[in-house]
């Protein structure tokens, strides 16, 4: 499995209309990215139709380089780091 290198650029999308869980997920993602030393462009997707279009029914959701890695829950910081490193 290829692992992301420090300084690599990742494209992140946080899916959620802006409730508490989505805010927590975004904050935790930013922390994890910083810890891993990854550069990222973070985009927030708040439109429910767009969110459903990504296949996410329960928010929050997280896309990393176009791949859906989180849906319907806020993962632990450890799990999130693993997902971002892959």
């Amino acid at each position: 499995v290829r692992r992301r290198q420090e300084g690599e650029d990742v494209d992140i999308k946080v899916l959620g209309p802006g409730c508490r869980n989505c805010v927590t997920l975004e904050a935790r993602t930013r922390e994890a990215l910083e810890e891993l030393g990854l550069d990222a462009t973070i985009e927030k997707v708040t439109d429910p139709a767009a969110i459903a279009g990504y296949g996410v029914l329960a928010t929050p959701g997280l896309l990393v380089d176009g791949e859906l890695v989180v849906a319907g829950q806020v993962p632990s910081a450890r799990r999130l780091r693993e997902q971002l490193r892959r």
Binding site: L57, A71, S76
Partner: protein
């Protein structure tokens, strides 16, 4: 330089089980000594008389807060640990393409066991409808999910009793199915915002792989902490008001003032609950307190159901996907459903 692995504690599965066992033993001990301990503190150390208003209110507040927090922490953790993660995407795929009768049953059951944040209701609605799940079945799911909530059921069981909590779950599911079936009888699809049908939804979604015990414990601990943090203020305020009612409202107040027997009590309680947006954790202590003082169980239950199932913020969110007539019919049917449950409960108890 490749990124280094974070230091993972070498926790073996066996050790984790031992720790879980230890935690369970501590929890049971605390639960067993809870009432005794507060008896000693309130009536002994503080010297407040058991029969006095202040004494009974303070005792009720401390004892019930501790009991409810213990119950929520313990049971939500266990539920989180045991629940095989069933993402709503899989539920939808299970429901889509089944016979309608099975679809309704599945929607009500999954709605009852899967908690989801109220801001998910719109993506859920779009995801279900766009994938071809009939509107009635989608609405059954949308009604059950907030109505039957793990925290609410745990608190109801702890404060009012397991039988009533079970009755609440069963009648709630029956009502949601009845409402969904009724709504599917009318041609309501034209009142869905047209863009909903145009959304292309992928059939499969994120699959995080099979979680290990450590993952489950992590997730359950996190979920428990989040839930306790969210509901704590509501529990405290709810139990404080409940304690006030216990101490100061005379026993039999509702019966003597005629409120309990009035035909209007259920409709008024239901309508009063709609604009209120409170966490279920704050409502159950009120339900318990007024029920103890002789208000009909149905009235108290109808109030609880309408607070959790119907709320203005949730309805405003749903307005994005439902046109006004559908929203009004939906609200109306659920309101009547809740009132019916209230009246039945008042009659049988």
């Amino acid at each position: 330089m490749p990124l280094t692995e974070p230091a993972v504690r070498p926790t073996t599965e066996r050790r984790l089980w031992l720790e879980l066992g230890g935690a369970a033993a501590v929890w049971t001990g605390l639960y067993l000594v809870n009432e005794r301990a507060w008896d000693l503190v309130v009536h002994g150390a503080l010297g407040l008389d058991e029969a006095s208003r202040l004494g009974s209110a303070v005792h009720f507040f401390l004892y019930d807060t501790a009991k409810i927090l213990l119950l929520i922490t313990g049971l939500i953790f266990v539920i989180g640990l045991a629940r095989a993660a069933i993402p709503p995407e899989r539920i939808r795929d299970l429901i889509a393409g089944r016979h309608v009768a099975i679809g309704f049953l599945l929607a009500a059951s999954f709605g009852a066991i899967t908690p989801f944040c109220s801001c998910s209701s719109v993506p859920l609605f779009i995801g279900f409808v766009a994938a071809g799940v009939p509107l009635g079945i989608t609405l059954t799911f949308l009604i059950t999910s907030p109505l039957i909530n793990q925290v609410g059921v745990v608190m109801l069981a702890g404060m009012v009793g397991w039988r009533i909590a079970a009755l609440y779950v069963v009648t709630g599911m029956v009502m949601a199915i009845a409402a969904g079936v009724l709504l599917s009888r009318f041609d309501l699809d034209r009142w869905i915002e047209p863009f909903v049908h145009e959304v292309v939804v992928p059939v499969t979604a994120a699959d995080g792989g099979k979680p290990t015990l450590a993952d489950r414990v992590d997730a359950a601990r996190e979920e428990t902490r989040d839930i306790v943090r969210t509901v704590l203020p509501y529990v405290l305020v709810g139990i404080a008001i409940g304690a006030g009612i216990h101490g100061w409202v005379p026993a039999g107040f509702f019966a003597e003032s005629g409120i309990a027997d009035s035909v209007w009590s259920v409709p008024v309680a239901t309508l009063a609950g709609i604009p209120l947006y409170a966490n279920v954790a704050g409502v159950v202590p009120l339900v318990e307190a007024v029920y103890t003082k002789g208000l009909g169980l149905g009235t108290a239950m109808a109030f609880m159901m309408s607070v959790v199932a119907l709320s203005l913020p949730a309805l405003i969110l749903l307005k994005r996907v439902m046109k006004l007539p559908l929203l009004l019919v939906f609200t109306g049917v659920v309101t009547v459903g809740i009132m019916t449950i209230g009246v039945i409960f008042d009659l049988i108890t």
